[in-house]
Amino acid sequence: MKRLLITGISGGQGRLLAKRLSEGWQITGVDRVPWEGAPEYVDVKTLDLRKKKFEDVLRKNRPDAVVHLAFVRHFRGSNELRHEVNVGGTRRLLNSCARYGVKQVVVLSSAYVYGALPENPMYMDEDGPLNVARNFPDIRDLAEVEGLVSSFLWKYPEISTSILRPVNTLGYYVHSAIGSYLGLDIVPTVTGFNPMLQFIHEEDVCEALALAIEKQLRGVFNVAGPGAVPLKTAIHEIGRRRLSVPEPLAHLIIRELFRFRVYDFPPAAMDFIKYPCTVDGSRFVEATGFKPLFSLRDVFASMA
């Protein structure tokens, strides 16, 4: 049986993926936090990607494929920690993959790397610029990670490397920034703005990761879900109350709440509820035959 290493296995997406691939693969997982009650078919090692011991896992295990999910995606910690885990961790992982004969690497990025800008075209394809750092310095590490992985992709043509950029992911297991935003008791929106947002169910993202492994995908791929709706429709469907806040006020309030860590979103994240950041997922569909199983209604129901 071929061997698979999943980083960040204790997160929602890691658990789903381990289950999805448990039949064809011998799975090892690493994470900083333990997975209590992990099923027998996975060998979970609690350790930090940034530590020397992580390299030992690859050396001893010699995985055929690696799925990299170990990213800090929230803003609760410091920016330094985020950067160190996301960028530093990815760099170490890629170096080890090249050294220990890994044949396939899949990295879970996100559609946020395009950034939400007023001049964004609708449904951007993979060749578009990664503008996220322009107005949102807090998540420029996402773009840096992509840069590392793309240069790895070109430097090691013998390794099938792929980057997946799924749209807003919702579901029961996965903790995402958009999920916690839409999970607030009262969801703030910016007065006079109501952009189209694409959503995808966590199980469909899991399926996309599995397809990337099974089809030995190489390249960069957007992963779009069943469709797009205006933000306010999504809030309504999830059954939350909404509070419309005029922009100058919204900026001030969010900045202060974030400063005191009452609220987990930096002010720059506001662009994502003002301007569209929609992607064209057809390249991935053509490469894999991917078809989301969960409709928009299913996606929203998973949050209700």
Binding site: N120, M122, Y123, V190, T191, F193, M196, A228
Partner: protein
């Protein structure tokens, strides 16, 4: 420039908010029939909506039904528009290309209204807005819900690839805010629309609007003032800025809209400007000759 159209439409929808009742509650009121007609036409639009009633770009027919009402009233009762050539419109994707005039883009509004009210099946003419429109509260949402979008080439190409109908004025402000001495003389055309037509294999439908030049004859365009105010143009007309906001109202001219034969072009969309502008000139000539004929046939500006 399309955003004047947007401003006009916003004004229109504001005016409409008082009137934005369902057609049943309008029964007996003036324009009740027109409201019903518009609503029926919008229901017939060949646009696929998702389970929440939106198209992929955020179009919502219910918003269009109320926001287009003022345009429809202007079309039928104020400008008393006469449109011809709709029988020549091709099915499927098309790029509507025409002359731009009149300081405020009522011409775009009227062409869009003609495409809704006078064609069968009705078509939604989608405008391509300026980037900064996306930053204006409410207006950006209204624009999306009415089926328009921010005018990036890739969005336009995507719409055409999905068999939509896109409306462009290649003259931009050069045409809209020219002085009356240049009336009905086409200004320089941008080349972008031709590249998009070639890339997406889209027929170009030329159209000519006669009447728009007289709705607000331009005396001058103060470019320095415009630059100072960060606006693309600052026109002076007989009534603007003399009469204030009231001076922005167009004169009750009659609109004549002619749609010409669809033009099919072939070639590399990345070709040199020279090759592209040769094709653009064919479109321009077609519009100019329709304008000449329309002007010759017109007996009165207002009647």
């Amino acid at each position: 420039m399309f955003y004047f159209n947007k401003v006009a439409e916003l004004a229109a929808s504001a005016m409409q908010s008082g009137l934005s009742l369902s057609s049943s509650s309008l029964r007996g009121l003036p324009f009740a029939d027109l409201s019903r007609e518009l609503s029926d036409k919008i229901d017939q639009l060949p646009i696929e909506l998702n389970e929440y009633g939106y198209d992929p770009w955020g179009f919502d027919p219910n918003v269009l039904k109320t926001s287009m009402m003022t345009a429809a009233i202007l079309y039928r009762h104020y400008f008393r528009a006469v449109s011809v050539g709709m029988n020549k419109l091709p099915p499927g994707r098309m790029l509507l290309v025409g002359n731009h005039a009149g300081q405020v883009a009522f011409d775009g509004m009227m062409v869009a209204t003609a495409m809704l009210l006078e064609t069968s099946p009705p078509r939604l003419a989608r405008g391509m807005g300026e980037y900064w429109l996306a930053t204006l509260p409410w207006l950006n949402v209204l624009m999306d819900r009415m089926g328009h979008s921010i005018g990036t080439p890739s969005t336009c190409a995507e719409m055409l690839n999905r068999d939509e109908c896109v409306l462009v004025f290649p003259e931009g402000v050069r045409g809209m805010n020219k002085v009356y001495a240049d009336a009905y003389q086409l200004q320089d055309f941008g080349l972008g629309f031709m590249r998009l037509a070639l890339e997406t294999n889209t027929p170009i439908v030329p159209f000519a609007v006669v009447g728009s030049e007289e709705q607000a004859p331009g005396i001058a365009n103060l470019e320095s003032v415009a630059a100072m105010l960060n606006m693309p143009a600052f026109p002076i007309t007989l009534t603007w800025p003399l009469l204030g906001p009231l001076g922005m109202l167009p004169l009750p001219v009659r609109y004549h809209i002619e749609f010409g034969q669809a033009m099919h072009f072939e070639g590399d969309h990345n070709d040199e400007d020279d090759a592209i502008s040769h094709k653009v000139d064919e479109v321009k000539d077609s519009i100019q000759s329709m304008l000449r004929r329309g002007l010759a046939e017109r007996t009165s500006i207002f009647l």
